[in-house]
Symmetry: none
Amino acid sequence: MGLRGRKKGSNGEESKVLLLNIAAEEFAQKGYYETKVSTIVKKAKLTQPTFYLYFQSKEAIFQELVNSFRAELFNFVEKSRLESGLEIGSLAEKIKIGLTAIFSFFVENPNITKIGFFLTPQAEEVKVNLATQITDNLTKEVEDGYFQTNVDLRTVAESLVGIMERLTVTKLFTGIKEPESLADDIVNLLLFGISSTTNE
Amino acid sequence: MGLRGRKKGSNGEESKVLLLNIAAEEFAQKGYYETKVSTIVKKAKLTQPTFYLYFQSKEAIFQELVNSFRAELFNFVEKSRLESGLEIGSLAEKIKIGLTAIFSFFVENPNITKIGFFLTPQAEEVKVNLATQITDNLTKEVEDGYFQTNVDLRTVAESLVGIMERLTVTKLFTGIKEPESLADDIVNLLLFGISSTTNE
Amino acid sequence: MGLRGRKKGSNGEESKVLLLNIAAEEFAQKGYYETKVSTIVKKAKLTQPTFYLYFQSKEAIFQELVNSFRAELFNFVEKSRLESGLEIGSLAEKIKIGLTAIFSFFVENPNITKIGFFLTPQAEEVKVNLATQITDNLTKEVEDGYFQTNVDLRTVAESLVGIMERLTVTKLFTGIKEPESLADDIVNLLLFGISSTTNE
Amino acid sequence: MGLRGRKKGSNGEESKVLLLNIAAEEFAQKGYYETKVSTIVKKAKLTQPTFYLYFQSKEAIFQELVNSFRAELFNFVEKSRLESGLEIGSLAEKIKIGLTAIFSFFVENPNITKIGFFLTPQAEEVKVNLATQITDNLTKEVEDGYFQTNVDLRTVAESLVGIMERLTVTKLFTGIKEPESLADDIVNLLLFGISSTTNE
DNA sequence: GATGAATGAGACTTCATTCAT
DNA sequence: AATGAATGAAGTCTCATTCAT
């Protein structure tokens, strides 16, 4: 084959990654339906058949981005948990670490976050999973006697997810708050409510 | 028959309402893009030209539903506020009444709620407005000395919106909770957090 | 029936004439295809079914206007010919009288002229007839020895039609020239050409 | 044919040209509105999406034909002028050369001529331009003392345009006369009128 | 004489996707 | 690995025309 088929040193993997990145941006910006395959390839300076060399369909590339969101988020959060003094710390601390990790991932990957956490119908599933996990954690803490409450824990977990969702849009993506400070606020609110009189 | 200006009950108005209802259901279920005008009219046992007799475009009927969501929600909440002993009551009570009103409207109008609060890009605006209003109310309470807090009120407001959003999907639309009980939970959580040890 | 069915004293004939006039204006302005039945009836403050009470189709009302152009033009020209000292006069005089009559009709009936002389495919036929008639007249004059020429008379006739066509658009409808003065110019040009050094 | 720097013979350009030719024929025959994109592509043995690969819209392909009429006519006339002994010759000769060139272009390109000189609303503009140009030429001749007249030159020019218009339809497109002989007739008529007693 | 409501038919256009090279 | 060219399938919308009253 030699150099004949090559163009500007690009190769297959590069093209695929390029397409994924552009697609992520487009989907994040315009949503699934307003994103056209023709636009993606144009921005990548490629052609439509090339697109289908790497992805079975428009749906498929979208799904790939959704999956990468899920996988990378999981990895990132896992890694953060391990790095941060492991399983010790108070409930507040633990929640804070988790939230900070998630938010950090979100700000660093806004496009796939928009796709995987907001755009896709599977976002619902992601959120349900997240809520379940949170519920489990809370439940364990209660069982272990670390704190007690008269609020339904599932509701708390889902509320937390809702808070994350909304503040990600209004505070994080707008650059108004940083992951850590946002996590702080949320933990504070969640633990003590607005009637709190604690000092920081 | 008399009343020359109005043609009440004439078939035309009926057809329009019919189309609006079916469209609301379709949009709520499948989203804007997967909803086809052809499907709407088929379900209404009408034809496509008839659709365009009442709506300028698919976009237009969608917008009409969004607008009706906004207007009706506003009316409903306003009415609820007036009916409920007017401006009196503690902060908790006031929030609870407001939330209950909103949730009641949501359960009673799930389709346009999905459309106007979740589907449309304008939902963002709705939520921002809602958060602003809540922020204003909270701020006034603080200024009036009814309570004090060290949490940023805008963040609280936005969190509340996020909680509403999420619990509407998971608890309200699923039938797991009723408006009032849901409002109760939220107020509880928001005021005292999960560390609360208060008894009801 | 009494007065019950009546509306503002309008009756059938009136409505028909109204529709014809509005249609003439619309067709003249926008052409056949850009003229919509819905627009015509709206401007007439009537409804579409009413339109079909008087005309079998859009095509039909258009045809009616074309016919009325042909008939009225014929009448008008005939009348002019009779009124103007009948068959006497030089060739120049005769042509001038004929042209003035036609141009007068055109300025007074711009809408149906546009329709019947420019818009409709049948305009071709009208022009061919006109050219034939003119050719006949010229031929007779030559045969009667009133003048001689070495130009093909059919070509002259068709040229005259072309001149009329164009000057109607550029001079008559724009108000730059009056029928008589326009007829004058044309006769002058046609008889003597631009090399003419005759004085009026 | 020339090489023109284009992808000669490539299938894409061929398809575009094919579509243009068929479209020209269709438009010329049936007019803008009665010409359907579906018919054009069927005759080209292509499909509708292919049409939109080369033209943005039905309107656009029509405009492309109009533009090509204007450009090619201009080129052709320009070329003819240069080829024909340049600026010398009597007025009659000059007009004759110009008319012959135009008529030659017309017979050789009947379809785009019908479109650009008769069908499109822009034809009016073309004719006005033509008349202006002719007026300028005539005026110069008069100023240079080559001939004198008492007829308004703009009117003469517009008459000439009218004559061209009509004779193109009746003599040229029907094959009754050739460009040169037609130009001859017109010049004769225009210069001397029907009273001419000159011998050929 | 008139109309509110409805429709048959069809036009233009778009887009994801594939064929052949 | 890549592309020029093409298309199947479908969707939105328009308009002249009619039905039932």
